[in-house]
Symmetry: D3
Subunit: 341 residues, 6 copies
């Protein structure tokens, strides 16, 4: 019996030059669609949950294409609004070796960013839901969306829906000051927070020692400290942190940790050879939500989330096209990549 | 010795699903760049003129790609400004048979549409120029650009630069009333006007009898009437009108006429099997400007323009990638399409 | 308020060499999915109906891809069964000029062809439905599916669901004798029959005079005769016949007629330049069902169906990706193919 | 029991921009291989003959790729020499509508053009052969190859092998004077000549009245006259002429005639919608040779050749990928292009 | 002077989503053809041997395409039968990092799997041959093919043809019990066995200690033990074992060993960065057969086989497109991957 | 204020099979354009210099395409001559793992290789220039080009233009003896030499101890020795050497050193995961020239050059499409490859 899960945010068209080409070289773009919360919805649909994505897209073929992409992968789009001016776009160069992946956003004035809070009927949307998820990107799109988020989490709280939030700080969307103000208000209604050290520091000034993310050196202790501070500051039920070690655009270390108020669980650490790392964090969030929704222990939950997001790095596009059994198989230990016949 | 020609307007990224796919089916887009005035500049560069395109593009890889596309085809980009938020985009489905080609514009808030009139140093830009060309799209982008156009044509007039304008009415950009007001002011400085019956009627209320464009029926007499009225109303030196007969999205009739104040010259009529018809009118304008700049007679000029734009219908993208000798060869009569070895 | 419509049959993977290549030349195949009844479901979903497709696909990524393709285009797949050995495949060369399109079927042993009649819970599937549609292909897949069809139409009849059947004779699937025996039994429960002259002749021995389909000569009188005979023989509520004039693989004449027991209505005749003609008949059926479900007159219904299927010839793949407004626009007369901006 | 047939000439790499792009736009080329005599060999292999192609290619992966392409389509490459500097290349833009297809040759210094006559062991190559075919291109590659052709046809004559020659005048390879001198010598050993009016006029000064090939106007009488003159001048056993009416790069009329010394047979005339017309004449030659080798009457032979080459216009690449039964089917009259299921 | 070598088995169409896409994401498939024994034949043709592949394919364009693919790469297809229902297909996702490559078989009811033993005239096929090769896949296709294999190896033995067998256990084709029964009978006629630890254990219950293939840990001692047991049990002339260390789907260790009854030779160990690992074992077998046929010492033979199959991991498709000199160059030690100009 | 820089040499069409395919497998080639000196010009244009490339290309669409490719990336083509027979071509297989990248040259008889020294007006070309760069490939194209190089460097010297030369020995173009004779003469006018150990040894017999390039073992001391010897022998102002460690075709170590007469500076050493390594050395030269032209210290210059060329290994094609800020960012230490949003 699938659980109803609702995620809320922006879905963008993603335009990616094929074969490691740069934008100035490209004569074609591969087109997919994605966004932090949409990516989470796809993960949950893949694992069998009834996942709804809430957004607003323009009433034209481009908006329809975004809806179709979600439907294709099993996401329910019943609450998607149509109208407004445009679908947000982002251009994404796939990096390699020392050349970083590049994201050029062209998301201003998107339909969702201009939507009014009252367009969303949260009572109806969250009716019967078990979980509501959003990220720090959604309220950053404007005061209107910050308000919509607040409406949503308040309704969720009232209806007994668990709320998770991936902090996801985007410096191009708002200032640190604005982010802190808005996010602090929203955190009051959040049960599970997900982030990385940078997010916590940027958004809430919560920081760990001795980690230089450009060097790929991670202080595990620092992260644990951050998790606990977050947990305590906002009276959460759980805090998850993803730990990316950036050796190069082609190779990363990847793991996560989860603090449930009692103990901190660090997942297995994966060395990933990257096909496409966009959506890595979202796939972790999607995995974590699935695991917590389905009664996994804290230890199992972080392992499931880490395995799911490890696999994401091998998948083209924002969405994590892996099955439940593939995640469980990796989580249980088979990372050999042997051919499955 | 090439002539310096300047065109002014917007260049957009064009995203086209390959192989007649619709946007909702597309997993990739072919990417080219184009816009009414940029297309004219490419035509002129192809024929050997020193063509400058003036616009503003964002200072990011997407803006750079637009510049590169122009440079590739020989257009000088010395006066292109960098800054602003975004490059305009348009999505373009290639129609076939009874299914019309579809254009979805996503051009709002583009860098050029937000540029200030004073950013353009027309004295410098038009220094030494022989010709200045713009279309009705540029002033439709906003009052700022209407002012920039006015600045440009006034400077041109003062410097003795011939000015041409393709009326190009775009109903999604402005109302008929606004268009009439702005365009009437600009026409005072225009020497050569180019348009089709619809443009003249929409923008200036100048109309011909008994033509139903959706039926593909053209009244030649009506068009002549329109040309003369335009000529007289705005004290022009020449008026050109393109005549498209739309049998289907795959097959059109195509020709043009030119009125030089004395006589009206109708070009040969071509039956074109369409590969890509976007930019058809622009390639006519580019051909006409080249011919008039190079001392062609009125009769020759309209034949050159018609031949050039006939060929455009067989070229992928907005730009008309044909050589001077190819146009002349067709103009002189070889429409057999025999293999050139 | 959308109507629930159910279609039942096989969905196959379609492998098409790109760019007019032949199978022996192909180094890649474009992959889409389609089948007579699935194609009808997509048409209805496009027009806003709640369309369900019933079938069985293997429980592997290939079967999942077929489901995803349906979901993407809005078809409900709630009643799709999973299991069995394989998804049927067909290879499809796109012909041109005098070279015919070629279909190589590899559909034997598909999951749906091996499904047992009792796997389909027609009470539940047809609960609340307004319309049930199948084609002559489904019962031709085997006695098991002939039985499943019989179960379905009997249930439909009992529940007051309108039943339509596209005769669609496939000589590679069964003999004329077998077809006649099975189809005659099924026709007892059918309200609306759709076919072409060939179908009626092959399946029921109902034939018109003086038409040689390989010559592209159509006797309208003959077709009317066939429609009436079908209507009378099986006490139908309506008979539709599609009329294809095959001039070449690139150019066809296309129209339809509909007999409602009182009068025969012949649609407008279209000359189509073909992009992809597979699914042409299905798009006619989809259009007809939509029109009849929504209270169109007989005349309007056949015009809607003809316009919808005219457009299909310009769409890549089996599915007819056109919107309601596009069909209505063509039906009302704009076949000019002018760019829609 | 297949007949051994030998053809001799150059095979080149053909580089074609995809999707009607021009060379200056192309970011990729489709690569195939072809050449007048190789194309004939492929046709014959397709129809079941044992076709050998004789040439010389460089001993590198590019030369190997040419060999592989021949082998793939059933041509025997036992007598292909390896060595020399390079494989000839030609760039080929696919034209459309009034824009002609364009061929840019880059064939100088190819391995075959530099081969020495004594490298070819004609005794061995022609041992057991029934037919030897070459075109006017081969001797035009240089005096060495003119000599090799002479060696070949003399040996053929001695061994009782029928010799055919497609005149195929290429003005970029040699002058009219040189062509006439060399070809006249070779014609002494030729049994069947194939050409078009232009060839006969250019090479031998044999011309027909009142035909302007750039206008698409064909004088059938003129062609008959040319055929008879050729027949008589060189004491041939048969003369075939292909008749192309070039309406545009997209649409041609196509037919052929054959004179056997008694009567002139004109084939059915096809209106072809062109996918790729390169190799059209070669596919006619291939069809004619097959028909004459297999005892077809003169009338049947020209119909078979015309049907085969009609189909070629719908096939991508130089080679005519059609089966014997497809040609016979068209020859017998089904040009409807109806789907073959 | 090339040696005649015969291999016998199934060739399938392989459909691979491009660019690491998963099947559910794919809008196109790259199409190649392959199968254990066909792959070996291509290797041998590449090295200059006269390699024949024996199979049965359907008499349609799909079957012809498989034949053409073999011919292209130099394999003789004289003994390929035509008929039956279909060509087997397999879908193949290319894995990366921790995501394993995935194979979905759709090979049931293929023409070869339904062929009758008496259709193969082994006397003729093996006439003049030096070597016969098959794998454990062929007899697993059905009792008919197990019989055909038995016929083949008995004939081979009688004619003095060396027989090799790659054990290649496929659990989806037959049970361990069945495999053991059939393979034991066939081994009586085998001279050279090739396998990996898993094969030997699954098929014959011969196993080594302390190797966990999912962990990528290899016990060299264990493998030697297996080789010797196989050698002794079946009175072989040689046993080869491939040793794959699966670190991930992107990186493997690769080597082989060969036991000639006297000594065990372990090849150099390669760390391979994988482009496409399907056919890796087959390319080892192809290399080993070539080496043994051409008088290489045991040590050289295993080094040649290991180098050949190391290179295979960098080649797209099942076939190992490398030249003799490339293998020898690597075998002699240049693994630097420096550009060859 | 950009510096005028001139480079002189050949630009070739580069044909690359996509996706790691080999030439014998390719059905299409990706087409780019490149050559040692053109690549340097693009680097300099990217960093903002006014870079001119001097060459000769055929006056046809293929030559034009090469010019367009240069213009696209900002290189000035004012001094490019048109004429001659052909554009040089090279085929380039992208290697992987132990399979080396392969280059097949087809550059003989190119327009530039046949150009006459007097066609180049060096007074005009070098007027106002700050730097002139060529490589050892240009004089290797023939005595005519050796003379043209000599004319160029003499003129440069006279006009006070700094001259750099990348030794770039190509064994297929000339013998060691010839190279030594010609290069020795040219070195008299050179200020900055760039090379690798192999070049110095091959061209001038200057060699270092104990380095086996096929083993990937580099003796830093040896390289320093070579640099000093080069410096002293030819009275240079600077010597740069690139140090490639070839672990495999997929992974290399990469660094450079620079000797300015006082000290030797070794750059940071990068481990690069290779996308496309052609043009790696040229991007080093381009970086070095930029740095020296813009007043970087010796230490900074070699770091800039190394960072620029490190990034090149991740860029498709010959040209190094990176921005000044990207190089500086890497040079300053961020090699983490983290996504740039």
């Amino acid at each position: 019996m699938p659980n109803k899960v609702v995620t809320f945010g922006e879905i963008m068209m993603r335009l990616t030059p094929p074969n490691y080409l740069r934008i100035v070289q490209a004569e074609s773009f591969d087109v997919t669609y994605g966004g932090g919360e949409a990516n989470v919805a796809v993960s949950l649909a893949n694992y069998g949950e009834e996942a709804y994505f809430v957004t607003k897209v323009p009433d034209n073929p481009v908006g329809q294409a975004a809806i179709n992409h979600l439907r294709r992968y099993g996401v329910r789009t019943d609450y998607v609004l149509k109208g407004g001016e445009r679908l947000g776009i982002y251009f994404n160069e796939i990096g390699a070796s020392q050349r970083a992946s590049l994201v050029v956003y062209d998301r201003s004035y998107s339909s969702i960013s201009q939507a009014k809070p009252e367009e969303f009927d949260w009572e109806k949307i969250l009716d019967g839901a078990k979980w509501f998820h959003f990220t720090g990107i959604t309220p950053a799109l404007g005061d209107n969306l910050a308000q919509a988020c607040l409406d949503a989490v308040k309704t969720a709280k009232r209806l007994g829906v668990t709320v998770s939030c991936d902090l996801n700080y985007r410096k191009k969307l708002w200032t640190i000051e604005k982010a802190r103000e808005v996010m602090t208000k929203l955190m009051e209604y959040v049960d599970i927070a997900i982030g990385n050290e940078e997010d916590a520091e940027k958004v809430f000034g919560i920081k760990a020692e001795s980690t230089d993310i450009t060097k790929g050196v991670l202080s595990e202790e620092g992260y644990k400290e951050v998790a606990k501070k977050l947990y305590d500051t906002f009276s959460l039920k759980g805090v998850a942190i993803t730990l990316r070690e950036s050796f190069s655009a082609s190779d990363n270390g990847w793991s996560g940790l989860y603090y449930d108020g009692n103990e901190i669980y660090r997942s297995r650490r994966y060395e990933v050879h990257i096909v496409d790392r966009v959506g890595g964090g979202d796939s972790f969030a999607g995995g974590l939500i699935y695991a917590l929704l389905n009664g996994y222990s804290s230890k199992e939950a972080v392992e499931f989330a880490a395995a799911a997001s490890c696999l994401k790095h091998s998948i083209v596009g924002d969405f994590n096209h892996v099955t439940l059994s593939e995640v469980i198989n990796l989580m249980k230990g088979d990372a050999s990549g042997r051919v499955q016949r």
